[in-house]
């Protein structure tokens, strides 16, 4: 048995993180359960389109109750830490601003970068933990050869969450444990049952945690109304790829690249959103083939397996969570900017989403699609 450590576990009240706590406890470590209070669902309750009662999952009392029950079952200390201010500043506001600028944000990556592996990791260290463990499906290991901490895809490819973790720094990775990296989800549920955890059958959560029912448009309206701002008028023209105006739209935040439904125009062939122009509020529509694109620029780069990129590198690139990594060439094209040239054109490259670079199982790094 490896020497016993003090490990903080980020507990969401779900089966994955609960099982992590149980595993580490069974291995003889001193385990401390931590749950982040990030968003008060009651804040927007009652605004138009938002549920009257608390239905969102984020920081719901039910989840905190579940996490607390697990901690009690395992006999570990458990605390809820309040990071609502930072969450609003670093996740919710950027989420709203991105949509209003015509991009499609991923709040989960921002939360990982700014909350879970930053604020929570600091708290974990401050309260005496050697490491922070989470229920993510990913692997982290130290590579002696290159002297770097590596982030790798998990054994269960169907649960791979490395796409959301590309922003982790070497320092953060060195203090992080992903105990589920070698396991499949059914194995995790079996283990949860084995440890007598009442939530072993609890369904997985999928939606963005602070957006009840996944309806982000209502969320934007409600959030801006709560802030005393009206939703800015982002209505504009629907234009074709050659610049012909073929209609109008009610606001750029209603669209995402690749979208086909809800364009409000009827033509012979199916139309897709090709591009959203934040500055002119134009939504460019075109045919299926116009959606494909061979190169893209990526900004705010974080590199993991390499310290820098002195010459072009062959990688596989994932441009959204559910995307099969596509072979491409990666090269530096500016300050904190890289250009990716795919071997085969890729469908619906979406600004605001992350591009994560892989070398097989190893996450090379990633950045935000410009």
């Amino acid at each position: 048995m490896p020497p016993s450590k003090t490990i903080a576990v980020a507990m969401s009240g779900g089966v994955d993180s609960s099982t992590v706590a149980a595993m580490l406890r069974a291995e003889g470590h001193r385990v401390i359960g931590l749950t982040m209070q990030l968003w008060n669902q009651r804040r927007l309750a009652g605004h138009t389109g938002m549920p009257e009662t608390v239905q969102g999952r984020c920081c719901s009392l039910d989840d905190v109750y579940d996490a607390r029950r697990v901690a009690e079952t395992l006999g570990i200390p458990y605390y809820v830490v309040n990071h609502e201010d930072r969450f609003e500043r670093d996740v919710v506001r950027p989420f709203v601003e991105e949509y209003l600028s015509g991009r499609t944000p991923i709040p989960c990556s921002l939360c990982n970068n700014h909350l879970k592996f930053d604020q929570l990791l600091i708290v974990a260290q401050q309260i005496g933990a050697d490491a922070l463990a989470t229920g993510h499906y990913a692997r982290v290991e130290f590579d002696q050869a290159c002297g770097r901490w590596l982030l790798k895809r998990p054994a269960d490819r169907s649960k791979d969450q490395t796409y959301f973790l590309f922003g982790l720094t070497q320092e953060q990775l060195s203090r992080t444990l992903f105990p589920l990296g070698e396991m499949t989800k059914p194995e995790v549920r079996d283990l949860a049952r084995h440890h007598g955890l009442a939530l072993a059958e609890k369904p997985d959560s999928q939606e963005i945690c602070f957006v009840p029912g996944g309806d982000y448009k209502n969320f934007l309206d409600a959030y801006l109304a709560e802030q005393g701002d009206a939703l800015p008028d982002t209505a504009g023209e629907l234009v074709t790829t050659d610049g012909n105006v073929i209609g109008e739209h009610g606001g750029i935040h209603h669209f995402t690249v690749g979208q086909r439904k809800g364009l409000g125009v009827a033509t012979g062939s199916p139309l897709y959103v090709i591009q959203i122009k934040g500055d002119t509020r134009q939504v460019v529509v075109g045919n299926q083939e116009d959606l494909y694109c061979k190169t893209m620029r990526v900004k705010k780069i974080n590199l993991i397996s390499v310290a820098d990129l002195s010459e072009p590198m062959r990688v596989q690139v994932k441009i959204r969570h559910r995307h099969d990594p596509a072979s491409a060439q990666l090269e530096v094209s500016g300050a904190d900017e890289m250009t990716i040239t795919f071997d085969q054109p890729q469908r619906a490259v979406t600004p605001g989403q992350a591009a994560v670079f892989y070398d097989g199982d190893v996450v090379v790094g990633g950045g935000w699609i410009a």
Binding site: Y79, Q126, G128
Partner: protein, 391 residues
């Protein structure tokens, strides 16, 4: 496995039931179990016990026994006082630093059609009585301002407010939850019409409290049922709890006679001074104001109070910061914010609150643990490192 030493300095949250108090209440679970409203021996037995406790409470606050209503605790007492008096259209005066039992009751009054003025506090956490006078209106029905604040321990100028209320012929309720048992109470000197008390803040159990209601004050009850508590609070009396509260009130009186409150203040001052002198970038919240003898609230710059509370708990010391929200997370303190404390200092503040059970050795334990824990937290604080590197 070796049991960790646990030291408890969070007595403003709850206190342990003292052994004398537990001994007094124990017979009322089995031996003397009757319903105090029953006419037979068993009922008479518990009725007598309830009335003896009422006398002890009356002695504690300086009123007649008939002016004491037993409740389920501080929140019920505050709510009964507020909703028992205020009607739609009334004006009510409160303060920005009240406990949520008063603050959220006042918020609800506003929804019911009352107007509520919340008096601000100065940097030391005190209400200025002149502010109360200034906001009085013809339709002001009630002033509800606490005696001692739960987070800072700062005593409010309730006697001046009592005079203002009397002159204006306005009801005055004071939340005495954090004052009872810590400082001598005299409802006539305070000039209040209502004063709420909670058992578990003064070494009686959770789930019992009392409300002083001046004779002649017509309270609309909140619970309807039997004619218990002179029809002011229906429901079979919590006899063991009431007996315990009576005993705790007697013990509190003895405490003042012995001068134990001075000893407690000395312990509190030792904690406070040692920390302020030995840990850099710290300060006292409520500086310059009179406080109850058991409480001190200190900010430790460059750290999150929440992390400090957790780190100390993991080492066996229970203290607190702010108020816990329903998930158990800590909310930013409305009290420290109302005092004008910088938000980072408000988040970095910790409350130490002593109880009768605490010993000098426990103070030593805390004074050994706190500075080293603060140092470790600061070493890992990005803000602290940035500041120290740049300075």
């Amino acid at each position: 496995m070796k049991l960790m030493r646990r030291v408890y300095f969070d007595n403003n949250a709850s206190t342990p039931v003292l052994s004398e108090v537990f001994d007094a209440m124990r017979p009322y679970f089995g031996e003397h179990f009757g319903n105090a409203s029953s006419i037979h021996h068993h009922g008479q037995d518990t009725r007598a016990a309830v009335e003896r406790a009422r006398e002890s409470l009356a002695t504690l606050v300086g009123c007649r026994p008939s002016e004491i209503v037993f409740t389920s605790g501080g929140t019920e007492g505050d709510n009964l006082a507020i909703f028992g008096l205020a009607r739609s259209g009334d004006h009510v005066i409160s303060s920005t630093i009240e406990h949520h039992a008063v603050l959220n009751a006042c918020k609800h009054l506003e929804e019911m059609g009352c107007e509520v003025t919340y008096i601000p506090v100065d940097g030391s956490g005190q209400v200025d009585p002149d502010d109360v006078r200034r906001v009085l209106r013809a339709n002001t029905r009630l002033i509800t301002i606490m005696m001692a604040n739960n987070e800072t321990g700062v005593l409010q100028p309730v006697e001046e407010i009592g005079k203002i209320a009397a002159e204006a012929d306005v009801y005055f309720h004071t939340d005495g939850v954090q004052a009872a048992g810590k400082v001598p109470l005299d409802v006539n000197r305070i000039g209040c019409d209502l004063l709420s008390i909670s058992g578990h803040k003064m070494h009686a159990p959770q789930g019992v409290g009392a409300l002083y209601v001046r004779k002649g004050t017509l309270l609309q009850p909140m619970l309807y049922g039997g004619r218990h508590e002179r029809s002011r609070r229906a429901g079979t009396e919590n006899v063991p709890g009431i007996v315990a509260l009576g005993k705790a009130a007697e013990l509190a009186q003895e405490t003042f006679q012995r001068g134990d409150d001075k000893t407690m203040a000395a312990s509190r001052d030792r904690i406070q001074q040692t920390i302020l002198e030995n840990v850099e970038a710290t300060g006292l919240n409520g500086e310059g104001a009179a406080r109850v003898p058991n409480t001190t609230n200190i900010y430790f710059e460059y750290i999150e109070g929440e992390a400090l509370v957790i780190a100390l708990d993991l080492k066996g010391l229970a203290v607190s910061t702010g108020a816990a929200c329903s998930s158990g997370a800590i909310e930013p303190s409305h009290v420290l914010t109302a005092m004008g404390l910088r938000p980072d200092r408000a988040r970095a503040s910790i409350r130490f609150s002593l109880g009768k059970q605490n010993t000098p050795e426990e103070v030593d334990f805390a004074l050994d643990l706190v500075p080293q824990t603060v140092s470790r937290l600061r070493e890992l604080s990005p803000v602290y490192n940035k500041t120290t590197v740049s300075s």
